[in-house]
Symmetry: C2
Subunit: 420 residues, 2 copies
């Protein structure tokens, strides 16, 4: 579908990251240059903004503010968790999207998100194609979970991993400061994939000190073995032990440890994911009762995904590039694709990743987990393969300029396009 | 007591901060230059290291590593929470300190900490004086709580305040990203003084956005009024509200809200302080039940005091200066004093603080709180007086060099002095 002429819409979906707006900057700045793109719209709250015809007119934004977006965390347009039904079950939303796209002559659609968002791209793409409406659709990957299939890694992961590694180093110095023992349990995001929790190993890999034990959801979590490992560490370190644990650890039967321990009635989000929380506190109580020692539970909470002041320069630049590339590819006629990064291992020792495209259907709803062979046999640490993989992704610094000692984030005018 | 010739001991006490080691760097680098100081010792775990004769020989450290201390968080020598009894009640520890000081010819003692540590300095100073043992003792102030009497502010506060303000800005962008309401409760350290929680106001003062409501322990906390305020904010902001709350908020009868809500049997530390925790979760549950809305509880936990990657340059430099000045003052014959900072308001608009000395007895066991007239009448925000006071303290950046994308913190050899 070459040479489409019309407007473009960009939307942000799912949990925010430090660099989702870097991709927005890439999309907007590139789209504003393209002669085939007649107007650049930002959808308010992702797909909801399309359904409700709430579009921000990006051409009305100050270009300097768009550049500041590159280092502004979270999702400037507003995000959404909204799962489209299969069109065969209920095509109401699809009809509406087609109607809106026709009305605003939307010929380019870019959607930034994780697996669910790539599924959304794919479903809309198929529906529009079957309706005979030409629109080039490219997915821009984003997730701190790093669990998207088909790409070496995801924009968002490097910065969150840098937060985890840096903070583990700082916490290690703090949590071991007294002349008495303390077991510190740090809970890190990741429902099914342990990429982010694994980043706790980077602290030690580079000569500093971070966690003593690391638990990923890729392997079943055995409470008795865990207590034994903590006991072993404390016996050799004056009672001190730091544990990094993924929120999504499960027992051998696939039951979340957080649920087992808290016996909470876990609520579920719109995608059917179980909403977790409180694992660190539950594990800390367990350790306290079983090992009779001082404990501290720490949750990195939202900070691990929005600490843009600690973003990785590699990540920020790649996120920007992914946005730019999506626009260039769509304008060159590509559709139903997702931008991915392929690592070039030809020059050993030097990190190089090349952006390219894959069919978005391949990424939709598939989760990429940490390879089991990258985890040590006892299941409490990561091997060199992981360090070699992840360390290049946290390099360099890129952050907002300071004003009065605080970050100067983008301030968008957010002028709504008049409804037609 | 001029011209004392002998060894010096430096110790670190109480909760760590991002800059307690900056003061250590100042003490060590200055002490190594002083001709009257025959050896420079670091006490392992503060006063405990003196009682146990565990001293690190600082002259054996690489000078580059001592400079790296300036940007290494926590307490490199190890900290301690140990309260000396009054000598009139039990002088065992004092006799031991005198014995150790005589044995190692300790003529200079520098102690870095908060109110309790200044009390320790004062008690030791009095005892040695009454025993006819000459030793110059200078306290170096440190506390993220900023509650030390007699100084404009404390080293440690500026960096923690910068963490709070920056992180509140980032959290604001993250916590308001969806098209649905959410009340976010952020718990910040501070038992009796709300200085650190008040720093949440700096985010908004500079054009960004942070908390909507701020609660300090200086004013009684009324649960009904709090719920009413949250309800008011959410009604005008699509259900979104961010609350910054000090861990130490109390009701009109002085009872900790955390205790009231959690009805937990609060444990106490060695100084008789009630150990708090879990306030954010308790308040979040309250809001959820009473206002029937989505909530999120966040605790800044240890990160707020050890995030050296986000330290304030003003704070780092002042902490270093405080250490240097303590040594210079002691070598010039001063004793039983604490280094303080006096703000010079003569040149309006330009921040300037001058280090000077006060009697350490003045600072011991006295808490300086946020002036009530700096808090808005409804008790949920800070006035311009606070912003003018605190904003200069979070300026500039000073952090460890990066190695492999992660901070290169000091690695001390920590060679113990052979026991005599």
């Amino acid at each position: 579908m070459k040479n489409l002429v019309g407007t473009c819409v960009f939307g942000q979906s799912g949990g925010p990251s430090s660099v989702i707006n870097s991709s927005a900057a890439g999309v907007f700045i590139e789209a504003l240059k393209q002669k085939n793109i007649t107007a650049v719209y930002g959808a308010q709250h992702g797909i909801k903004g399309i359904l409700d015809e709430n579009f921000y007119d990006i051409s009305k934004e100050d270009l300097n503010e768009l550049w500041l977006l590159k280092n502004t965390p979270s999702s400037a347009l507003g995000s959404v968790r909204y799962k489209l039904k299969d069109a065969s079950v209920d095509d109401t939303d699809y009809k509406r999207i087609l109607e809106v796209f026709k009305k605003y002559n939307v010929r380019y659609f870019f959607y930034n998100g994780g697996n669910d968002s790539m599924d959304t791209c794919n479903k809309i793409s198929k529906y529009l194609l079957s309706s005979g409406y030409n629109c080039n659709i490219i997915g821009v990957p984003k997730t701190i979970d790093n669990d998207l299939y088909g790409t070496d890694h995801c924009p968002g992961y490097g910065s969150a991993a840098k937060y985890v590694a840096t903070t583990m180093m700082e916490l290690n110095l703090d949590a071991t400061v007294y002349n008495s023992g303390q077991v510190t349990i740090v809970e890190i995001m990741g429902r099914n994939a342990g990429w982010l929790t694994a980043a706790a190993s980077l602290a030690s890999a580079t000569g500093g000190e971070g966690a003593d034990l690391i638990y990923l959801p890729e392997l079943p979590f055995d409470i008795e073995k865990f207590l034994e490992s903590v006991r072993n560490v404390t016996e050799n370190s004056q009672g001190k032990c730091i544990v990094a644990v993924s929120e999504g650890i499960k027992d051998i039967d696939g039951r979340y440890i957080a649920e087992t321990l808290a016996t909470l009635s876990a609520s579920k989000d719109n995608f059917g994911h179980t909403q977790l929380g409180g694992l660190a506190v539950s594990l800390a109580n367990l350790v306290k009762n079983k090992l009779n020692c001082k404990v501290r539970a720490i949750e990195f909470s939202l900070m691990q995904r929005c600490a843009a002041h600690l973003a990785s320069a590699v990540d920020v630049e790649e996120a920007f590039t992914a946005g730019q590339m999506a626009v260039k590819a769509a304008c060159a006629g590509e559709t139903d694709k997702m931008v991915v990064f392929v690592r070039d291992d030809s020059s050993s020792g030097v990190y190089k990743c090349v952006p390219t495209l894959i069919d978005v259907a391949l990424a939709a709803n598939t989760e990429k987990k940490v390879p089991l062979e990258w985890i040590t046999p006892d299941g409490t640490w990561l091997k060199k393969e992981f360090i070699d993989y992840a360390l290049p992704l946290i390099q360099g610094e890129s952050k907002a300029p300071l004003e009065n000692g605080l970050p100067r984030f983008a301030r968008l005018a957010k002028i709504l396009v008049p409804k037609i």
